[in-house]
């Protein structure tokens, strides 16, 4: 028996992944301008796209999180989460390599008012990249378990 296709493992993975992204969407939906500021600070995206990212990415996190948890469109949600996490790894990694301290903004509001040194920001970037690698692995497990499943198994997984 292939443990990576284990139904219970997939449920636990879906629970962790779904809850993580729903939690991640909460502060962004509560304060879209704050998330726009986070995206701006990456210095990677054209000005005209910043608000569009800030409007739609949190909704993707929320709805895909619900999809992963409920089992409806779980494969699509897992694929989306994998791609989104890869995107953040690349963005953070690029900024880390070029020496631009960036607040990820993945799981909390922008650090307005906090006196963060660049050294601390770089340490946080590394930690957040590691978290994102973990999220890619979780997404891959769900995809592997559900995409490789036979039609009947896939149905029972939702």
């Amino acid at each position: 028996m292939n443990i990576f296709k284990n139904r219970w493992l997939t449920w636990i993975t879906a629970l962790v992944l779904g809850c993580t992204f729903i939690y991640s969407s909460y502060h962004k939906l509560a304060d879209p301008p704050d998330f726009a500021k986070v995206i701006y600070n990456y210095h990677l995206f054209p000005g005209v796209l910043i608000h569009l990212f800030a409007i739609y990415v949190p909704w993707f996190e929320l709805l895909a999180g619900l999809a992963v948890l409920s089992g409806i469109w779980r494969r699509g949600a897992a694929l989306g989460f994998g791609l989104l996490s890869l995107f953040f790894i690349c963005a953070l990694g690029f900024n880390y390599l070029r020496g631009h301290p960036t607040v990820c903004g993945c799981f909390g509001t922008f650090a307005a008012g906090k006196e963060w040194t660049d050294e601390l920001k770089f340490a946080k970037m590394l930690r957040e990249m590691l978290v994102d690698v973990g999220l890619v692995i979780l997404s891959a497990q769900i995809l592997y378990a559900t995409v490789a499943a036979k039609p009947a198994e896939a149905l029972s997984e939702g």
């Binding site: 939906l29 304060d31 879209p32 301008p33 704050d34 726009a36 500021k37 701006y40 600070n41 990456y42 210095h43 990677l44 995206f45 000005g47 005209v48 796209l49 910043i50 608000h51 569009l52 800030a54 409007i55 739609y56 949190p58 909704w59 993707f60 709805l63 895909a64 999809a67 469109w73 779980r74 494969r75 699509g76 949600a77 897992a78 694929l79 989306g80 900024n95 070029r98 020496g99 631009h100 301290p101 650090a111 307005a112 008012g113 906090k114 006196e115 963060w116 040194t117 660049d118 050294e119 995809l143 559900t146 995409v147 896939a154």
Partner: protein
């Protein structure tokens, strides 16, 4: 995999609907609503230089002063002169300078420099606020303006607001290096809470 892609497209379509509806519902609330196309934002691909960069081995440039720990503090940021507390205080008591709080409105309401107005470039009503300021006739385009947020190392809000004021035609804009935390610490009697700017002494 094809099914996963189709499901992803379906999720994206629902996301487009939900995001659009949510932003439209927030239309009357500048603290939540975002213009569809961001105005006045041009981050560029080149980030600003790291602000904590140690310059122990390098000779500091003339316009930079060395502070404790070997880090240098530039005299300007993105073309705007930065001034310290003493100069800010002189501008404040001089009476002619307009103080602009570039932080979020909720932070402004929690406490701001007495007499300062709020213009946060991340909120959708910043253009309207600058328009009102220009129409009010309280300040002319040459008048000194001091913009502040938290402090220059941890807050780009001042630079964004200064940039927007500059594009509106204001010519004499300075940035308060220490920002509101320094002011609150050194001039606790000149802090006002609430939506109104308050009256300068």
């Amino acid at each position: 995999m094809k099914i996963a892609l189709l499901e992803l497209v379906a999720i994206v379509l629902v996301v487009l609907l939900a995001g659009t509806a949510y932003n439209l519902v927030n239309r009357g609330n500048p603290q939540k609503y975002l213009d569809w196309v961001s105005k006045g934002l041009n981050p560029g691909i080149d980030p600003p230089p790291p602000r904590d960069k140690k310059q122990e081995k390098e000779t500091p440039k003339e316009e930079e002063k060395v502070v404790e720990g070997g880090a240098s503090e530039p005299a300007e940021i993105e073309g705007f002169p930065m001034i310290g507390h003493e100069d800010v205080l002189a501008e404040y008591h001089g009476g002619a300078a307009l103080f602009v709080d570039a932080r979020r409105t909720r932070d402004y309401e929690a406490g701001h420099i007495t007499g300062a107005i709020s213009i946060c470039s991340w909120e959708s009503d910043w253009e309207e606020k600058i328009g009102r300021l220009m129409q009010s006739g309280e300040v002319n385009l040459e008048a000194p303006i001091v913009v502040y947020c938290v402090n220059w190392k941890n807050c780009d809000d001042s630079v964004r607001t200064a940039d927007n004021l500059k594009r509106a035609g204001f010519m004499n804009i300075k940035i308060y290096k220490g920002g509101f935390p320094e002011w609150q610490q050194k001039e606790p009697g000149l802090v006002t809470q609430g939506k109104e700017p308050g009256k300068k002494p």
